[in-house]
């Protein structure tokens, strides 16, 4: 049973952005203990995805942790914009 984290994060983030064509979610690295996922968004959308004081970004992380806890891995999410 493998949870597809890229799809999970994509589904979480897509409705929040104005420029879905610039949204890129990619697995950066994976080893036994952790997974790193890179989320790239349009510069205009960065604020919406991170939220006030990182509220939205933290919520996305918490939900990803929950999903990852079932396979006993840590998940790191990097959110950044182009440029």
């Amino acid at each position: 049973m493998a949870v597809n984290f890229e799809k999970l994060i994509l589904d979480l983030v897509t409705p929040l952005v104005i420029h879905p064509e610039d949204l890129l979610v990619k697995k950066f690295s994976e080893d036994e203990a952790s997974i790193t996922i890179q989320v790239l968004v349009n510069k205009e959308d960065l604020g919406r995805v991170i939220g006030k004081g990182g509220k939205i970004a933290n919520a996305i992380r918490t939900i990803s942790y929950a999903a990852a806890s079932r396979i006993g891995k840590r998940i790191n999410i990097d959110i950044d914009s182009f440029e």
């Binding site: 049973m1 949870v3 597809n4 799809k7 999970l8 589904d11 979480l12 897509t14 409705p15 929040l16 952005v17 104005i18 879905p20 919406r48 939220g51 509220k55 939205i56 933290n58 919520a59 996305i60 918490t62 939900i63 942790y65 929950a66 999903a67 806890s69 079932r70």
Partner: protein, 206 residues
């Protein structure tokens, strides 16, 4: 429902993108409709008056959003929504793996609520109150908090010594304040800084 009207030279992808940018939402949620066609005097150039609306159904789209997330987490779940008074919407999730969705001290549950509230309020003009509960966790927690509040308040009222409760989030503190609001012998106050804010129950001065 959010909507705008504008003039466009043509009806194509660029028009849609422009409308989405103006409305500040994902273009998949924008509906375009031609209100009027205008022709220039020679009839060579056509322009359109276009109305762009955000197509969003609070209940339906929210359930779809939650279901997609839960499916991605590989969790089978039942999702129900109930609209309430004053722009309040309650969502109820029941899954075979509720503890994963609740998380430590309800952390994951709170994250789901934050995301859903943000999602709904991005697409609507009105401000919605959003409540998410998983398997009755919040309802049960509320009952426990009310018992704790009553018990501690009784102690405070008889001993006249203030009592400090453990750290709680905004919703949990609110439950305590509301429960003890009409007590004659005690007052409540929140102290400390987030995320370590807590409620202090004080004896009322006579």
């Amino acid at each position: 429902m959010k909507s705008i009207q504008f003039e466009a030279k043509a009806m194509n992808e660029t028009t849609l993108k422009y409308a989405a940018g103006e409305l500040r939402v994902n273009k998949d949620f924008v509906d375009l409709r031609v209100v009027e066609e205008k022709k220039s005097i020679l009839g060579l150039n056509k322009t359109y008056i276009v109305e762009a609306t955000v197509k969003f159904d609070v209940i339906k789209d929210s359930i779809m959003y939650l279901k997609a997330i839960l499916a991605d987490m590989e969790i089978d779940a039942l999702v129900e929504a109930k609209p309430g008074e004053n722009k309040q919407v309650s969502f109820y999730i029941d899954a075979n793996e509720n503890p994963i969705l609740i998380g430590k001290n309800g952390k994951t549950l709170d994250a789901l609520q934050v995301l859903l509230k943000n999602y709904i309020n991005l697409f609507t003009d009105e401000y919605y109150m959003v409540l998410v509960d998983v398997g009755g966790y919040k309802a049960q927690r509320k009952k426990q908090l009310e018992i704790l509040a009553t018990k501690t308040a009784k102690d405070v009222a008889s001993s006249r010594v203030e009592a400090r409760l453990g750290k709680m989030n905004a919703y949990e503190r609110r439950v305590i304040h509301t429960k003890l609001a009409d007590w004659r012998d005690v007052t409540t106050e929140s102290e400390g800084e987030e995320p370590n804010r807590y409620v202090v129950i004080k004896p009322r001065q006579r």
